[in-house]
Amino acid sequence: MNHRFFEQKLLQDEAFNAEEERALQEHLLDCADCAALAEVNFALRQVQMATPAEGFSERFSARLAARRKAEKRRYLFGGLILLTVSIAVLVLLASPVISASMASPSRFFINLLSNLAAAFSLMRVMGEVGQVVFRITAGFIPASGWLFTLAFWGGLTFFWLSSLQKANARVQAL
């Protein structure tokens, strides 16, 4: 049993048997490094747990309640800001329309009706065109092609959703 043997055992804080213990005591008289290691291990084995001051759990409950209150207030404040900004943007966007309707209500009403009718007819036309295109392409594309397209979009959606979930988990990670 040489210095290296004792040093390794002390660095790993391994137990010594009776014979090793006797040899160690002799070695420690001459080896300051091993003596320091032995002292550290001894001191570490004597340590005691620190205890928090009385009423720790009560203080925790109070902190939890305060945190919840602050969170609620933050959500409320955030919601109010969002609502105010949304209303402001809406008013800003609608201001030309509002001013026009104030200037000439009958003209504004007629314009509104004609715009609505135009939008409705545009939608009908687009629907009919879409139906015709679908009928034509359906004949060209084989069933396997449709299946492939469907699987592709399904896979892409799944990938997107799982990425979102992973990103969300990472944000919430400790």
């Binding site: 804080d13 002292e39 550290v40 340590v47 005691q48 001051a53 720790f56 945190r67």
Partner: protein, 200 residues
């Protein structure tokens, strides 16, 4: 253990009372880890409370196959390591802001006052030496000696491999021994004789 599982389950379903029971059970372990890591009673209290808050917030993500103590101490250790890295706490005083010695040995043997004083001095010395270790090494030593954690448990708590734990413990013991030797050689300790060491 079953009782603990029931509390965890109830806490996951939103019972504050069940979580308070968990706090009462683990407050000492968490506080001790924080205190040994940060070396300050006030900061330790704050860190322990914050650790429990984080645990409460993330309770839905606790895996019941894992030990709750390991999971909780992991949160606590990471919190302390992060705050140490952020604030770069480089110094630790044995005395609090008012100049009184820190009171952290709550339940010391009062039967042998001399022994208790000596032990308290050793504890204080060890606490000072601990602050010289790197954050993760310090956490490994605290978990090993104050929490009786196995190398595997330390690895799980700190999120490192078992061999990394071994080498960190190895390195920490060597560093502590070097610091102790340096301290012994310092003028203030010159009068201390080798036979006064607890191992002799």
């Amino acid at each position: 253990m079953d009782e603990e599982r029931a509390w965890i389950l109830q806490a996951q379903q939103g019972s504050d009372e069940a979580f308070t029971r968990l706090v009462e059970t683990y407050q000492r372990s968490v506080y001790n880890l924080c205190y040994r890591m940060l070396g300050d009673a006030y900061k330790a209290e704050d860190a322990a409370q914050e650790s429990f808050l984080r645990a409460y917030k993330n309770l839905h993500r606790y895996d019941s196959n894992r030990s709750f103590a390991t999971w909780l101490l992991s949160i606590s250790a990471h919190y302390c390591i992060d705050s140490l890295r952020k604030k770069k706490l480089s110094t630790f005083s044995l005395y609090d802001d008012e100049g009184s010695p820190r009171e952290y040995l709550a339940d010391h043997a009062a039967l042998h006052p001399e022994g208790a004083v000596l032990k308290k001095a050793q504890e204080a010395e060890m606490q000072v030496l601990l602050q010289s270790l790197k954050e993760t090494d310090r956490a490994a030593i605290i978990l090993r000696y104050w929490h009786d954690a196995s190398e595997k448990e330390i690895a799980e708590t700190l999120g490192i491999t078992v061999s990394a734990v071994k080498s960190r413990l190895h390195r920490a013991r060597r560093k502590l021994a070097e610091l102790l030797t340096a301290k012994e050689k310092s003028p203030s300790r010159a009068e201390r004789m080798s036979y006064e060491s607890p191992i002799f």
